[in-house]
């Protein structure tokens, strides 16, 4: 028996660990595109960007732990480039690896801004290498432009302001994060940027990069203005890393080509399961909505479950997790649980005292977002997991409103 895990980030690592934990003692091969051993990504846009942040990225586990304690064969530094589901082989630069159980955890790739190739000073932020480049720019005191007011871009802006550097965030829509959290919350997010001295340009597009001798000098906006910049970070989203799966028979989503799974993470192909950012997974807790999440907890949980299910499909059970993410902006902690696809959003605690927004579907609470209220967020998560009543959640929120 061979378990092959493709993707050596959090989901892939947790797949390997859980396979050993359930007592699987067969062969495990872990394939990863990056040279590095599996490492943690959330700090890359947070502590790692601090002037006194860690000098290098620590792996989750040492090579000895992975190879010897967990008995994993590592194939790092080259991506899987093909899958044959008939003969059950993954190919990596001409080497074929046979599997009986397969976990697809290749994650997602950051979308690059058109024209960034060969233009120094323009980056995305997804890998340790990206983060080192962004930090080096900040270390040089760069004037920074962030394209897109999403979570990653906002964390970069936050890192720049923490150093007292000028930063502009350019967002196409009229509020930040409208699609992921709604208008009321988007407006609170805009205020966080402004209060920290970030120049937030809404309803504005970056038309193109300006460069001299292959080095970025600024960005040209849809307003005609040119913003001078030494560092440009595109935070304009990611796409699932599945080009290697085209034509393999693994079902890919028509919109973004993510791997389509049922609630047990099965792709429908025998022995083939998916986990993490790459996977669209049916969630029974939210009316069987298919969700593709780019969250730490999602990758950890699905990675572990995908390996268990791939090794023992008869024991596979649907997952019904409450999505959770957090983001740190200018010393404020934003936390979100559940889904923002809702019929109504109510601001339960105003921004002056922290901030809480609740999301309703029917008579249920399905989501909650807080700013600087870390003691409360998991109380909402439990209500959401238990399909708790909207009225009770609102009543609970009312008891928390007085004190920030």
């Amino acid at each position: 028996m061979t378990l092959v895990v493709v993707g050596a980030s959090l989901a892939g690592l947790r797949a390997v660990e859980s396979a050993r934990r359930v007592g699987y003692d067969g062969r495990i091969v872990l394939i990863g595109a990056e040279e590095q051993l599996p490492y943690d990504r959330p700090p890359l846009s947070k502590a790692f960007l601090d002037p006194d942040g860690p000098a290098s990225v620590e792996p989750f586990r040492s090579e000895t732990e992975l190879r010897e304690d967990l008995g994993v064969e590592l194939m790092l530094g080259a991506p899987a480039d093909g899958l044959d589901t008939e003969v059950r082989e993954v190919s990596v630069s001409g080497t074929m690896v046979r599997y009986e159980a397969l976990v697809l955890a290749t994650g997602a790739t950051a979308r690059r801004f058109p024209g960034s190739d060969g233009c120094a000073g323009v980056h995305t932020l997804r890998t340790a290498q990206d983060a080192a480049a962004v930090r080096a720019g900040l270390d040089r005191g760069a004037r920074t432009v962030v394209i897109g007011a999403g979570f990653i871009g906002s964390e970069v802006a936050s890192a720049a302001r923490k150093r007292g550097l000028p930063v502009t965030v350019v967002e196409t829509l009229d509020l930040p994060l409208v699609r992921s959290v709604g208008r009321q919350v988007g407006s609170v997010c805009a205020d966080l940027h402004r209060a920290a001295g970030t120049d937030l340009r809404l309803s504005t597009q970056v038309m193109r990069l300006e460069a001299a001798d292959g080095v970025v000098t600024g960005v040209r906006l849809s307003t005609g203005e040119v913003l001078p910049a030494d560092l440009v970070v595109a935070g304009t989203g990611v796409y699932p890393a599945t080009r290697w799966l085209e034509g393999s028979g693994v079902p890919l989503h028509e919109r973004d080509r993510g791997v389509v799974c049922d609630a047990t993470l099965s792709t429908g192909l025998s022995g083939v399961y998916a986990a993490g950012d790459v996977a669209h997974v049916v969630n029974p807790l939210f009316d069987d909505e298919s969700m593709r999440l780019e969250h730490w907890t999602n990758a950890a949980e699905q990675g572990a479950a995908a390996a268990r299910h791939a090794l023992d499909p008869a024991a596979a059970r649907p997952l019904a997790a409450v999505p959770y993410f957090w983001s740190d902006w200018y010393g404020h902690r934003i936390q979100f649980v559940g889904t923002s696809r809702a019929e109504e959003v109510v601001v339960a605690v105003p921004a002056e005292a922290g901030f809480t927004a609740l999301y309703r579907r029917g008579d249920r609470i399905v989501g909650a977002l807080t700013v600087d209220r870390p003691r409360e967020i998991m109380k909402y998560r439990r209500r959401i997991a238990a399909r708790g009543s909207w009225a009770e959640a609102v009543a609970f929120a009312a008891t928390t409103g007085a004190v920030a």
């Binding site: 902690r333 936390q335 870390p374 967020i377 997991a385």
Partner: protein, 63 residues
Amino acid sequence: MRIEADRDRCEGLGMCEAMAPDFFEVGDDGRVVVHEEHPDEEHRQDLTAAVDACPVLALKLRD
């Protein structure tokens, strides 16, 4: 069995509280409070889930 929480590492993200609310809670200072440091063996599954779910790896279970 003993729960070890590294409060310096803890960032108060609260996943432990989500997984095992009887044992963990985010406290007033935004970091974990462990309600019961020596839990009974019957809770091992929930506690293991809490340890695994910690995004900053601040929790350990010792036998």
